[in-house]
């Protein structure tokens, strides 16, 4: 039989949806606890503009936050890769940021920065910053030793070495970090939107409002959740496409037998 991964993936998703639908109907589960997939899809189909608007808003929050985190991480990573003592000094702080559950201190951040956009952008960039820094440092250091000597043989400036050699060498590990950072960033955006309870549109803010005001209904809550799932898939696809385009030279992006 011919191998068709896409067909099997579709069958898997449909089967999962059917089991879910039957589980909710037969088990008579409360809508806020779990809603049938058919009702979620219907809710989105009934008001696509609304869901598109809040999804777009969360997408923008996530992308802006991840971009800020990434740029700061590249600058920091370049400094850490250049000075070992600085890396030793900063590494424990980055580990602390990574291992501390950010949901635990988000209310304090809201107190500090106020409800709204600053908190959301801070949270997204804050949680994505450490993995990007580690990836950048590792990638910058992995630049080919012989190529570094070729650059040194003509006394290339630190900027030339960074821009023409080290940064492109770091791209594969930065993309690996991006794969899970977008998911992390989306979760942070969703939670920060909800936690800040601001009037901003967004999937997290909408989901939070349905919990406060149950007249909005479970379909809106579950519609927001499904939209965030689709947004996460969209982000991953975006990273993959960008990776294929920018890293076409890298062995990971070349399809060979074996």
């Amino acid at each position: 039989m011919k191998q068709r991964p896409a067909v099997w993936a579709t069958i898997g998703v449909i089967a999962f949806g059917v089991v879910w639908e039957l589980f909710v109907r037969i088990g008579d589960i409360k809508p806020f606890a779990l809603l049938e997939p058919s009702r979620i899809v219907r809710a989105i189909a009934d008001d696509p503009t609304f869901f598109l608007r809040i999804t777009w808003s969360t997408a923008w929050h996530t992308l802006a936050g991840v971009a800020i985190g990434l740029v700061l991480a590249i600058v920091t990573g370049a400094a850490l890769a250049a000075f070992r003592p600085l890396e030793w000094a900063v590494q424990p702080i980055l580990v602390l940021i990574m291992v501390t559950p950010w949901v635990a201190y988000i209310s304090s951040i809201i107190l500090l920065l106020g409800a709204g956009l600053p908190t959301i952008l801070f949270m997204v960039s804050f949680v994505t910053f450490p993995p990007f820094v580690f990836a950048t440092v590792l990638g910058l250091r992995s630049a080919d030793v012989s190529a570094r000597e070729v650059f040194a043989s003509i006394d290339a400036s630190p900027f030339d070495v960074f821009w023409r050699l080290r940064f492109p060498s770091a791209l594969p590990s930065i993309f690996t970090a991006a794969r899970f950072s977008v998911g992390l960033g989306l979760a942070a955006a969703f939670f920060a939107e909800g936690g800040s309870a601001s009037s901003l549109p967004g999937l997290g803010a909408t989901a939070a409002r349905t919990r406060l005001d149950q007249t909005l209904g479970a379909p809106v809550l579950w519609g927001s959740i499904l939209c965030s799932t689709l947004l996460g898939i969209g982000f991953l696809l975006g990273v993959t496409v960008l990776e294929r385009k920018l890293l076409k030279w890298h062995p990971s992006q070349r399809f060979t037998i074996g």
Partner: protein, 253 residues
């Protein structure tokens, strides 16, 4: 100003390990000198010291009267490492142009045309290819062009053909001789191949086992331009045999 490369009493120790005993050597402008020795004898270390990539424990290197660091800053050194060290994200032409693009303010000369050089080494049709699309020999040809594209008066080559098969290796030494001869470029070439040493050099400095010292310098009196049929010549064989004996003697010391 003293033209050429002058190596005086250069030695190198790594901790308690003596890699290189004091070495004296000169490379005149336009001269091709080979450092021939067994693996681990310190010939690469000596080359890296000349290139300014390693500091000597004792001794002085001067290139055109100045320290290697000045020669590096002035882009007077075309360095070819053991592996081609091409940047996989740049095309063949962009790789060949790399050293011209970097540190542009130090380009003091009229630079050679990269496209012409690629044509000379038979890569004109591969200008837009990426390194992974090339064979090992082709990649090393790009690395040679990258060094030649600097138009530098000194080329330092660290066993650039060591990873290639014998046939490709022979092609590469023939090609290198063809590229070098019209340019009057001085070359310091590291190898453990006798055929490469004889075919390319004006002089061969034979190094003993670690800590490396120059046991003898052999002048290669073969006409230029060198052509591949020279490798069947009795003089070629005679020099090769002499070098082999010197290497064996060096290994027994």
């Amino acid at each position: 100003m003293t033209a050429g490369i002058h190596i005086e009493g250069i030695s190198k120790s790594f901790g308690t390990l003596d890699a290189l005993a004091p070495v004296d050597l000169e490379v005149q402008p336009g001269e091709v000198v080979t450092l021939l020795g067994p693996s681990g004898c310190g010939k690469t270390t000596l080359l890296r010291i000349v290139a300014g990539l390693e500091r000597p424990t004792t001794g002085i290197v001067s290139i055109d009267g100045g320290p290697p660091d000045t020669a590096r800053t002035r882009k007077q050194i075309g360095f070819v490492p053991q592996s081609p060290a091409l940047l996989p994200w740049r095309t063949v032409e962009a790789n060949a142009r790399l050293l011209q693009d970097v540190n542009k303010v130090s380009n003091p000369r009229l630079l050679p045309d990269v496209v012409d050089l690629l044509d000379q080494v038979g890569l004109a049709d591969f200008r837009n290819a990426y390194p992974h699309e090339l064979s090992g020999g082709m990649q090393q040809r790009v690395a040679l062009v990258r060094a030649f594209a600097l138009g530098a008066p000194y080329l330092l080559m660290d066993e650039p053909f060591a990873a290639l098969d014998e046939i490709t290796r022979a092609e590469m030494r023939h090609l290198l001789a063809t590229l070098c001869e019209p340019l009057n470029t001085a070359v310091l070439f590291v190898t453990h191949s006798l055929a490469e040493a004889v075919y390319l050099s004006d002089r061969v400095a034979v190094l003993s086992v670690r800590p490396g010292r120059i046991t003898e310098t052999v002048r290669v009196r073969l006409d230029r331009p060198r052509t591949p049929d020279l490798e069947n010549d009795s003089t070629f064989f005679a020099i090769e045999t002499r070098l082999r004996h010197l290497l064996q003697e060096g290994a027994e010391r």
